[in-house]
């Protein structure tokens, strides 16, 4: 099982990204199963939230929050602290939205805000980071993620979000940091 923790702030769409990833994974193969859920509770714009995606080759019985992730994805760099490493498996990886260069082989950094502003016209980075993740994670393709966007997002959002995902995936594949 592959376990992913999404970190964001209320309004940044972290849970939507968690859902789209699960949807993309089950679209990729009919033997795939997934769970996606947010940290439950009242929601406030700007407050830190976490969301979780569990990807598996069989049904997932454990509905508890992920304690140690294979991948931890930060939509907002102000949430990225040393504690990020405590919730990571030994060979886990971090995907971080930042303009800074990060000299840590565990961390893949990209300027998600810049990309989102350029393509979406808004600093909402959920689909950008999902696109970037498809370049890191071998069991899902960019096409699967695009299909999930088409199936689970309103049509008016497809074009720009798919363009943003493609650009983000390309940026990570080229290894271009910030």
């Amino acid at each position: 099982m592959t376990e992913i923790i999404w970190h964001g702030r209320g309004g940044q769409g972290a849970f939507t990204a968690a859902k789209l990833l699960g949807a993309a994974f089950i679209l990729a193969d009919e033997n795939h199963f997934a769970l996606a859920f947010p940290s439950f509770g009242p929601e406030r714009r700007g407050a830190p939230i976490r969301a979780f995606t569990k990807l598996c080759g069989g049904p997932v019985g454990n509905r508890s929050e992920v304690e140690q992730a294979d991948y931890s994805i930060f939509l907002d760099e102000t949430l990225f602290t040393e504690t990020a490493y405590e919730e990571l498996k030994p060979d886990g990886r971090i995907l971080l939205n930042t303009k800074q260069e990060v000299k840590d082989p565990k961390v893949t950094a990209l300027d998600g805000d810049g990309l989102a502003r350029e393509i979406l016209g808004l600093p909402i980075t959920n689909t950008v980071m999902l696109g970037a993740f498809t370049a890191l994670f071998p069991d899902i393709s960019l096409e699967d993620a695009e299909a999930a966007v088409r199936q689970y997002m309103p049509e008016r959002l497809w074009m720009k979000n798919i363009a943003a995902m493609e650009k983000a995936a390309e940026t990570v594949r080229k290894g271009a940091i910030s």
Binding site: L35, A36, F37, P42, N62, R63
Partner: protein, 390 residues
Amino acid sequence: MARKFLSGNEAFAEGIRLAGPQVISAYPITPQTIVVERLSEMVEEGSLSAEFIHVESEHSALSCAIGASAVGARAFTATSSQGLLYMAECLTYASGGRFPIVMMNANRSTALPWNIYGDQRDSISLLDSGWIQCYVENAQEALDLALMSYYIAEKKEVSTPFMVNLDGFVLTHTYEVTDVPEKEQADAFLPGYETENKLDPDHPRNLGFSVGPEHNMAFKYKEHLGILHAKEAVREAEERFAQIFGRQYTGLVEAYRTEDASFVLITLGSIAGLVRETVDRLRERGEKVGLLRIRYLRPFPNKEIAEVLGNVRAAAVLEKDISFGNEGTVFSNVNSALHKAGIPVPVSGYIGGLGGRNISSEEIEGIFEDLKSEKRKTMFLGLGGEGEWV
């Protein structure tokens, strides 16, 4: 059939769309709100042809559903926690009136302390209200029960309202793989609702009447027989369901790896998924453990529980419920079933997950470890309180 990524609430709403109630009356409450929102959208866009009635309270929501059922309509409502408690007065009107209404309840803690998270104290506290009570494990089972509940409730010899319980948040708000059947399949499974128990000017009859001491008890006896008939209706519904949709269900209980088990954990609802994974892990180490998932609390599976536990060395009940001043209600019911069958297996009672408290795989493993002592134990999981029941 479409393979979708849906939350428990969304899956249940899809099931209700396929069942096609003629009247939906509901009042929103977290964590049930999304099922009501989806159904109102379906009515708005025309994918569900129903009268959607926005009511001012849960008491009115069920009263309205009773009124609809009393003119022969298929009716649906949904609620949770304090909302269910607020409509409690109407529950016995629906069951005593023999109106086969289906209600989804999103299991949530009851105040005080106020809390929106999941436990099963809301529905279990109303176990005696005359409703069929089913507890589902995942989104697929939720969708399937939306269809099967009407089939079972509307059987003439059953004619009993049906409460489908989904754990709040961990099931209602968690997205997972769900097969959504075609409307044609659903129609082939579920016939339209036909009843004589309705207001009909051509066939006048008395509904919602009062009955004095002379005959009142006979009505209660018939009500009891009606809900007992649901056992046979569950079997018939599941057989028919498997033929049309290809998915198998196992009746009032689901026994998992219990055939040769020495130690069995009995539970209900979505936590069964984690117990099943824990059983698999312990089995790999050679431990003879199993899971007994109670799917229906009413009618209660006395015989089925006795059959599964007849040869085990010890069993435990894990439930998200406490009857203050006594013990967990599921624990009481399981002990009663074993006592009636003359089975002297020691059963331990664990209260867990109240107010949404997480139950970990390690804690479940700990329960199996405790069972090896073959001593009866009662406690609050993660807190203690051991022996205070005795």
